[in-house]
Symmetry: C2
Subunit: 339 residues, 2 copies
DNA sequence: TTGAAAGCGCTAACAT
DNA sequence: ATGTTAGCGCTTTCAA
């Protein structure tokens, strides 16, 4: 058995090269290279000859050789906290789309939600000579190694304090304001916050913003960004629910966990308690009631990060080292509009 | 500005090479290579000298040069239908973990749920000289191009009919049997099926299995694997609900959409209608009621696929060209146990 | 056991 | 505008 795969590899060993094309076209391999990468002027005749020869022999450029020579792999690495969270999945999808569109590709590294592995993964990606690293860090801990990564680094959504860092993110501060204003406008004034320990920049920002807009006196429960935590926090909240008519959650996962426990305990959402999330993952729309949340502009986030990295790779200046994109309030059943 | 990034790239241009290590250690670069890749016997003295020299100059092998020479990139490509579906995200995460553990890496390609792009993406990955392609296809359409991909191809979960194909999957047939048996055991006998058009192998298999176990006469609604479709199908189902006491859905996304619409329409799940899913994505546990579903052994699926690919890459035979892993019934509130 | 030399496939100086 | 040559950093004959 397995003849096919063996055969495959044998043919793969003898893929046509620039030399084959050159011979077929009756020119030098340099000319072939120049035509194919349109790096330098060439007579229409040579160009045509090369193109048709390449077609005839079935030539495909070898990006490995190209990379060795040019010192560019035309690839970026993306470090995400956890691909099981659809928000990060969506960012990965969008980044891959942006890159593919320009003939680049994406290497993935998943941190599995373990903090402190950012530098290790970045160095690992760098050892594969990615031209840039895009990163959504897990926590605020900035491992020293990160400043040793010898290529542009662009952080998305959250950031760790590295020197001269470049970051593309959603305006979390404004997002929280939109949520609080919406809740107030619909008659909810006794807010509580269920968030994540401020070990990541976004957790810190969302917490601080909540305190700023809702007041320092409001109850705050801090854990992590998981639905699991949302469940536990909701159980705690249930004991003090008398003083609360709305729960602002730091992300959708938490909110979904909260809603589940509230309903299990016979409370009505939103009648007894409104709940809001953050991110607008696919499942925000799928819970019952559906989740009122802040939509992060995922596609723009990813393409802006890719563009920033491309700019840095070219050695050019960046207009914004901290690019902040606007959030969007999405009103659904868990904290409805009107009143 | 941007001095740091410029500086970074300058230093990057002069990373130490085997020659630097050789000079430092007082041996030839051949010996360095042999020590570092432990390809051939070497005296302990040379070995020690090389190792410490490598350490001193901060040597890191250049995988690009290595790849050009050895014709192996130590990487695999993974093609997924849509990273926004946490099931595929989980597979990607697990595959990345398996590979990383062996010092390999993963290139991602996302089909964005558009059928027929499998071959194009595979060829694209192959042009980056990945040593194998892992694929979860969108549909059954087998574009010709796929047989032109000159490296081992391992399909996961679903498959298209390519010659000599290798596939690693969960036993969907058994999964459906577990669900139907469970529903029957809890007194549900009037089952309906909401599935996807049999344009993918898993859709076909789950549909056929349902008909086999639940009987040809039971109502069947076919669309795609999305929650959106689940919603629409549930609306249709509502008109004929009198004859139905349980809905078997072909995946969790569909089931979540179904549950949402049922509840919106005042039905009780599971009291009026039990609902089951398939996959056991993270959100199966997060809906209310939580979803009774079939857990796919994602980690095993991914690592088995990686191992199969490694075997083919080595040119060895495969024990199973169709590896079928056992599913697991996970009973939760949407179709509870007991009675 | 070790080294010298060739070469993977490509692009970039440097000629012409 | 084109060709010649060198060389990216590594592994692998081939000889010693």
């Amino acid at each position: 058995m397995n003849e096919r795969n063996t055969e495959r590899r044998m043919t793969a060993d003898r893929l046509p090269t620039v030399v084959d094309v050159a011979r077929e076209a009756g020119v030098s391999k340099t000319t072939v290279s120049r035509v194919l990468s349109r790096a330098r002027p060439v007579t229409p005749e040579s160009a045509a000859a090369v193109l048709s020869a390449a077609e005839r022999v079935g030539y495909r450029v070898n990006p490995i050789a190209q990379s060795l020579r040019t010192r560019s792999t035309r690839s970026m690495g993306l470090i995400v906290p956890n691909l099981t969270n659809p928000f990060f999945g969506a960012v990965a999808q969008a980044a891959a789309a942006s890159l593919t569109q320009q003939g680049w590709h994406l290497l993935m590294a998943d941190l599995d939600d373990r903090p402190g592995r950012e530098a290790e993964q970045a160095e690992w990606l760098r050892s594969y000579r990615v031209d840039a690293v895009l990163m959504i860090p897990v926590s605020l801990q900035a491992p020293d190694g990160l400043s040793r990564v010898t290529c542009p680094l662009v952080q998305i959504d959250r950031w760790v304090p590295v020197p001269d860092s470049v970051i593309v993110r959603t305006d979390d501060h404004e997002g929280v304001r939109l949520l609080v204003d919406h809740l107030r406008a619909t008659g909810r004034h006794r807010l509580a916050f269920i968030g994540a320990d401020p070990t990541s920049s976004s957790a810190r920002l969302r917490l601080d913003s909540f305190r700023e807009y809702a007041g320092m006196g409001r109850p705050v429960l801090l854990g992590d960004y998981s639905a699991q935590w949302g469940r536990r926090a909701a159980e705690v909240l249930l004991e003090t629910v008398g003083d609360t008519d709305a729960v602002v959650c730091a992300n959708d996962l938490i909110a979904l966990g909260v809603i589940q426990v509230l309903i299990e305990n016979g409370l009505r959402v939103p009648a007894d308690l409104a709940v809001t999330g953050f991110d607008d993952i696919v499942f925000a729309e799928l819970s019952h009631p559906a989740l009122t949340t802040i939509r992060q502009p995922v596609a723009q986030l990813a393409s802006a990060a890719v563009e920033a990295a491309m700019t840095l790779i070219r050695g050019e200046d960046l207009e914004h080292r901290d690019l902040v994109l606007p959030p969007e309030l999405v009103v659904r059943g868990s904290a409805p509009g009107g009143s």
